[in-house]
């Protein structure tokens, strides 16, 4: 690795021998950025705009009954559920450490930590995932999140995850999508084809 350490020295030297004055690091004024009277309504609106589907439910039990009304769930064979109080999965995550074991996964049902109203995003902490591939390899994805856990904007979101204590964390906003062919939006590029978000009234926070 000697060539990269000499490259490091050369790069840092070139920067240090060229001092540049800069402004101090600014902080965002929380009073300037957007907030919403009804953040849940805004979240639902934005989730719809980015191609996801929101479901307001009372209890975790309602998640399962709602899912069963979906054709793609009724037909599903391989389901991983990380929210067992809502749905019983058919594939256990305890045995398989090889991500390829999930290559035919139909559904993943995972727990979201909180919602972001301005863009329909949900933060998923990597520590809640036995394997991070579960979020991306399943044909369909459902995220279950407590109704109370919502922030207005990304500044508040990053305040919440200042030290999220995991090797991985992700904001998911809608299903996987692409518009690379003539700007025509197609849902289901490489990750999930659809995204269902369950906003649960009566749910203990993780």
């Amino acid at each position: 690795m000697s060539s990269t350490s000499s490259a490091k020295r050369a790069i840092l030297d070139r920067i240090k021998t060229q001092p540049v004055q800069g402004p101090p690091l600014p902080d965002v004024d929380p009073n300037v950025v957007i907030k919403f009277d009804d953040p849940i309504a805004k979240f639902q609106e934005m989730l719809g705009a980015v191609g996801g589907q929101a479901h307001m439910v009372q209890t975790l039990g309602d998640v399962h009954s709602t899912l069963q009304t979906l054709e793609e769930f009724a037909d599903a064979k391989q389901i991983v559920s990380l929210v067992p109080d809502a749905v019983q999965g058919t594939v256990s995550t305890e045995a398989a450490s090889d991500p390829l074991a999930y290559s035919n996964l139909d559904w993943s049902i995972v727990a979201g930590e909180f919602m972001v109203a301005e863009n329909g995003a949900i933060w998923v902490n990597g520590n809640t995932l036995p394997h991070r591939v579960l979020l991306f390899i399943a044909q369909y994805l459902a995220i279950v999140v407590p109704r109370k856990q919502i922030v207005a904007n990304m500044h508040q979101a990053y305040e919440r995850i200042e030290d999220f204590g995991a090797r991985f964390g992700i904001f998911v906003s809608g299903p996987s999508k692409t518009a690379d062919i003539e700007q025509s939006l197609v849902l289901g590029a490489h990750g999930c084809r659809k995204l269902q978000v369950f906003i649960v009234d009566d749910m203990p926070s993780a």
């Binding site: 790069i11 840092l12 690091l25 965002v28 995003a121 996987s176 692409t178």
Partner: protein, 483 residues
Amino acid sequence: MKLAISRCRTLPPDKALPLLANFQMLPIVEHPTAAKEFVTNPDRSRWHDRALWFVRSKRDLQASSLPEWEYLRETASQIKTHTIANLSHYLEEFERNAIAAGAIVHWAEDAEQHNQIVLEILQKHRTKRIVKSKSMLTEECGLNHYLEDNGIDVVDTDLGERIVQLRKETPSHIVLPAIHIKKEEVGETFHEHLGTEEGASDPKYLTEAARNHLRDKFLAGQIGITGVNFAIAETGGIVVCTNEGNADLGTSIPKVHIACMGIEKLVPRQRDLGVFTRLLARSATGQPITSYTSHFIGPKDDNSELHIVLVDNGRTRLRASATFRAAMHCIRCGACMNTCPVYRRSGGHSYRATVPGPIGSVLSPTRDPDSYKSLPYACSLCGSCSDVCPVKIPLHHQLLAWRGELVGKKLLPLGKRMAMKMASHLFRHPRLFSTAGAIGRRSLRLLPRWATHNRFNKWTVARDLPKPPQESFRNWHRRHRGS
């Protein structure tokens, strides 16, 4: 196309912007010549123009939905200015924290070193197949070709990049790599390579075919390579933003993840991303945020590896120039391209550079002024790029400044230099100016059309000349406001 043989001569030393010592031999690009085919195909040119204007309009909707938009731009610009000023501090902080989190950090002075580092990692793991998500840095370094020449099977997994890869082309836009290709052409390419039905052009059908084709590649990939949207000094983490989820699928299956980044991708604190994640997708495609915004801190587990390659490749030289330093703020959103009247009509390939459009026309001549000297002129100085830039790079001012630099370097063609000299002489001699004006007004009235519209006058190729006024402004002023 002529080769830049003249570049073998020694160029005068220039403290502000010295040339890279290790540039490759590239053809000199004359933007007007390179754009000709695209521009003279009115169907394609207009179609391309409209497609990009559609994206620009979506961006406007998003920008106007936030009352604090200008505040965000200003804050983003300050964060970047601060970071670039203190770059060595933040680079060292980032390296320290990334190593503490379990990542392996590499440094590369140029494209060649970067490519060697990546190849060595692949060879160490006896890897023949890699899956790659979009990275403008690896495009800049020519990584794909380098790896292919060394027997590696490289699969670009971003749909647009896969399309151009199968067609043996290069991306024509940094966010929308295949924006120049029509769906019928994608259909032909997929018919040939993926066995889709002949004549198929439905984007949904074609995307589904690509999904299935690339699923197999993802499952077989031995190492995942990604770019980096943001690197965070205080955590040593990196953030990758995609809509397709390809960076995520491509790195969550293999045990090794290589992330390649230019040294300007740093931000000091994780909370600074509050600003940038709000600006990036809104500016790029008019989305409120990308579908996936993934935060990686260290490798995924103790049996995996995360390699981060920090690349200079001319960036420290750009930083040394007060005039062009702000170009390092760029977060590669592509908004300046979508709005540029020249880019929209001439297509990304006319720039013959990895990064086209206004920001590319600023960056490319920094790399090699001789090859890219015509790019700062591929601009009407309308200033729209500066208006939409989420990090407030004064793009059109920089393009104008480049013209000054190029004149100073005597890199303009003789014809243009002589014309400028003559114009300057004319403007400094009022009597000569008014005589020339009188001759001009009269001859425009009297001369036959062929005298002005001929093959020697490029200006009139697609234009008519204005009707000459009856008298000069000076005369008019004397009559109405004079004495």
